[in-house]
Symmetry: C2
Subunit: 343 residues, 2 copies
DNA sequence: TTGTATGCGTTATCAT
DNA sequence: ATGATAACGCATACAA
């Protein structure tokens, strides 16, 4: 890149001072500038293709105009999340509108060199949106208490940290109720991941609650665990089929995990939904294209990102911490994998 | 966030000058500093939790330490690309190792306010990795001629711009050869997207070449177009089935598009591979979990990103433009969707 | 071996 | 209405 024009160059070209240039270009209210100089400056800037230097600007403003979107997971898991791109799209759209950029980064907990705190300390970002935290995450708590602008996408076991989320328990309950309404009583559960994550805990509790409301006894033996990957779903399903359990339906709390489970069933020539009903969770973009199309719970991923970014930017610009969590509605999507009512 | 400590604070605490602090912290070679002051500075920095301010550092160094990863597509299409997360992972891993951050952004061509050039002019990034360019992209050419550090992930019709890519033609040929070796002669083609993209053009030409090498006459009527989405594959497949054509195999130059096509077949009770053979392209993470598991061409997405980032950072640090393109190998993945040899 | 002085490109506070 | 000038936090050439 050839050398860029500075404000001084524009000033020289227009025959005014740097201050005037700054006033004109930033549209300062108080100062009334003669239309003549105004035009001169504008033209000079245009001619020299002047754009303010981001570093210089951010140094003097004390702001980077950069939002961090960080995932509390190992990179391979983080990037495998099929809902993430939609969340990112929501964030970056809002960011873009407000003149912010977004840096994306997996930052697993307990990573010394690469902490959330460092991002603030080095002043790389103005604020953070943190996705998929563990229930206990002391660093987030500390940061919040130090008044760092930080929005959770998810939930942790600590009050008052502004968050954008869905009601996982309620959504899971909705999913299992659907299965129950279809006549299923023996319903297995495959968790999306370990119960260290609050979303997993909440989905399990929704499953349990739906069962109990229907007078079905909750049975630990029917609960299995995935780790967000199709492979884990493949394995979990094998375990179920290999056991003496004969569930007529399975609620899998992640479409991605369900993908692997479906694969097991395909291999063993077990038909869905004729032989077994499958209910997913997440509504990843391809669930509707699976064979059979997967019934699931729709998560408004784009809106999740959109809301998180808006809360954060509002916080940054208005200097006020959001007072309320933002809980978005989920939707039961009935496709074909659960079939219709059992005889 | 409470006020951060500056180099001056560290200097005061250690009882030395700011210069000394800088020397110690940046490990300047020439200057030999007494071990005593060295320790004093280190301890003071530690105690104050000092981290250099990114904006200030980048202003004085004339570098942002930020890499831009931009997609030449509309946001909704860009974020729907299921291979992208792996490419990002490759980039961000390398970036991270070298102390760079990555900003990700869809920047469609012809977007006035949001151009690649602006990113450089405002000095938001040190360099760019541009994914999925159209064959003709004047802005990229101009930028390259102005010596902007820019790596293509893909190819455009202009020589010498450093790029990281696969050999799309050869890969497509490989895929179609497999179909031919299985005994298929009537092979339809669904393009991943419009031929404005060179990857699409190249895949089509590979298809054509394989046909001709096998003495099969190329027929325009067998060529259909997707637009990277499952929906477009769904529609294309409907068109094929609705026509008088009766291909025994279809090469779909995108697994994502194939997903939709598979859905059409499922709905119409057409079995894969018994009734029709399907070959994909991309090897997105879930292709192996589909029913049936999809035969496809594996693209080393992570390595694509990894190489692009390495080339770019090398360019930035060594000040030398890469001289050679980096063409990565693809691999034919045989799973179940093509079946075995036809009788 | 360490300190002084200057510059990076902006914005913003003062005078004029 | 416009122009000097200071300040932001850091790195570094030069001086001591």
């Amino acid at each position: 890149m050839n050398k860029r024009a500075t404000a001084k160059d524009v000033a020289d070209a227009a025959g005014v001072s740097r201050t005037t240039v700054s006033f004109v270009l930033n549209n300062i209210e108080g100062m009334r500038i003669s239309e003549e100089t105004r035009q001169k400056v504008l033209q000079a800037a245009e001619a020299l293709n002047y754009h303010p230097d981001a570093s210089a600007r951010s140094m003097v403003k004390g702001k980077t105009f950069i939002l961090g979107f960080v995932i509390r997971q190992e990179p391979d898991k983080a990037y495998a999340d099929l809902l993430l791109p939609e969340v990112m799209r929501g964030i970056s759209e809002v960011a873009s509108e407000h003149g912010y950029h977004m840096i994306f980064k997996p930052v697993p907990p307990e990573d010394e060199k690469n902490s959330l705190t460092t991002l603030f300390l080095e002043h790389q970002v103005d604020g953070l949106i943190v996705s998929g935290p563990l229930s206990k995450d002391q660093e987030i708590v500390d940061l919040f208490n130090a008044h760092a602008p930080i929005i959770l996408q998810g939930r942790i076991d600590y009050p008052n940290i502004p968050s954008v989320d869905i009601n996982n328990r309620k959504a899971a309950e909705k999913a299992v109720n659907h299965l129950i309404s279809l006549g299923h009583r023996q319903i297995a559960f495959i968790s999306n991941a370990s119960l260290q994550y609050s979303s997993c805990k909440d989905r399990l509790s929704g499953y349990r609650r739906a069962l109990e409301n229907a007078g079905i006894i909750y049975d630990d033996a029917l609960v299995f665990y995935g780790d967000r990957t199709p492979d884990s779903g493949y394995q979990a399903m094998k375990n179920i089929l290999g056991s003496s359990l004969k569930p007529s339906a399975i609620f899998i709390a992640s479409d991605t995990v369900a993908l692997g489970s479906l694969n097991t069933l395909y291999q063993q020539n077990i038909r869905v939904p004729e032989d077994i009903a499958i209910m997913g969770f997440d509504d990843i973009p391809l669930s509707k294209h699976l064979a059979p199309p997967l019934s699931t719970i729709h998560i408004p991923a784009y809106k999740l990102g959109w809301n998180a970014a808006n809360l954060l930017i509002n916080w940054l610009e208005q200097e006020e911490t959001p007072q309320h969590d933002c809980i978005l509605e989920t939707e039961l999507i009935v496709r074909e994998s659960c079939g219709s009512r059992q005889k």
